[in-house]
Symmetry: C2
Subunit: 141 residues, 2 copies
C-alpha cells in the first residue's frame, strides 16, 4: 500500500522525554494527506501531516479533533455544527478544535504543514470508510 511508505514502528519511549522538531518530522513525509505520529500523550497522539488540495467531508462521532498550523493557510469548512455552517482559516501559530459529530472538510489552496492532536485510533476519514483517502493508523515518523 502506498500509505505504508515511511512507515516506522512506535518507539519504545512513545516519543516522550525528548525534543521533537515538527518541521524536521514533516520533511520526512513524502506524500500529502499522510499523517504520521511523532509522540503520544496518554491515549492521544500528536501527528504531523502536509496537505494540499481538498479533503473529504467527514466527521468523528466520538471525539473532538485539534488542528495546529505550522506553515501555510488551511481552510476548514463546517456543516451542521452548533453554530451552523461556516468556514475558518488557520495560519501559522493558530489552532482550531473541531467538535465531535461536526462534519468538516479541510482545504489547502497551496501546501500546508500542520499538526493534528487526537485520540489513538481515530481514522482520518472519519466514521465512514472513504475508499482511497483512508490512511492506516499508528504510522510513526
Amino acid at each position: 500500500m502506498s500509505q505504508s511508505l515511511n512507515h516506522a514502528s512506535a518507539p519504545t519511549d512513545r516519543g516522550q522525554c525528548r525534543t521533537i522538531d515538527l518541521s524536521n518530522k514533516i520533511a520526512q513525509i513524502t506524500a500529502y494527506w499522510q499523517p504520521r505520529v511523532v509522540a503520544e500523550m496518554n491515549d492521544y497522539q500528536f501527528k504531523v501531516v502536509k496537505v494540499e488540495g481538498e479533503f473529504l467531508w467527514h466527521q468523528h462521532a466520538d471525539t473532538d479533533e485539534a488542528f495546529f498550523v505550522l506553515e501555510g493557510e488551511l481552510r476548514i469548512d463546517f456543516r451542521g455544527g452548533h453554530s451552523g455552517d461556516g468556514s475558518i482559516v488557520l495560519r501559522a501559530g493558530q489552532i482550531a478544535v473541531v467538535p465531535k459529530g461536526v462534519e468538516h472538510k479541510p482545504y489547502a489552496l497551496a501546501e500546508v504543514k500542520l499538526m493534528l492532536i487526537e485520540p489513538r485510533g481515530v481514522v482520518n476519514t472519519g466514521d465512514c470508510a472513504k475508499g482511497g483517502r483512508s490512511v492506516e493508523n499508528d504510522q510513526w515518523v
Copy 2:
C-alpha cells in the same frame, strides 16, 4: 488572588470551531507562569503561558503533559524517568511530552511563550501543593 487577574469564564463553545491565534492570546496575559485556557478537546485543555526563570520540581502522577514552544528557548530538566536524569531544550516549533510520574522542572533563561496540552484539572505544580506557585485552574483567556 493575583492569579485571578485575566480570569475569564469558559465560553459556551469551549473555544471550538474558531480560529485561535496563540500569540494574540499570550499577549493578553500579564504575568509569568500563569497558564490560561484557550480551547478544549474532549476532556483536554490547550493552555498558553509565558514563562521566565525557574519553575519547581514537580510531577503529575496520573497524566502525561505536552509542551509546545512558540517563542524562546525552554529547558526541561528530568529526574527519575525511564531514561534516567536528563535535560532537553525546546525552541519554536518543537514539542516534548513529559510522561506521568516523571519529575521535571522547566527553566527559561529569557522569556518563553508556549502552549501546554493536558487533561482538564491538572495542577501546574503537580501532585503536591507548592505554596505560591500553584495557579487556579480553568482560567480562560
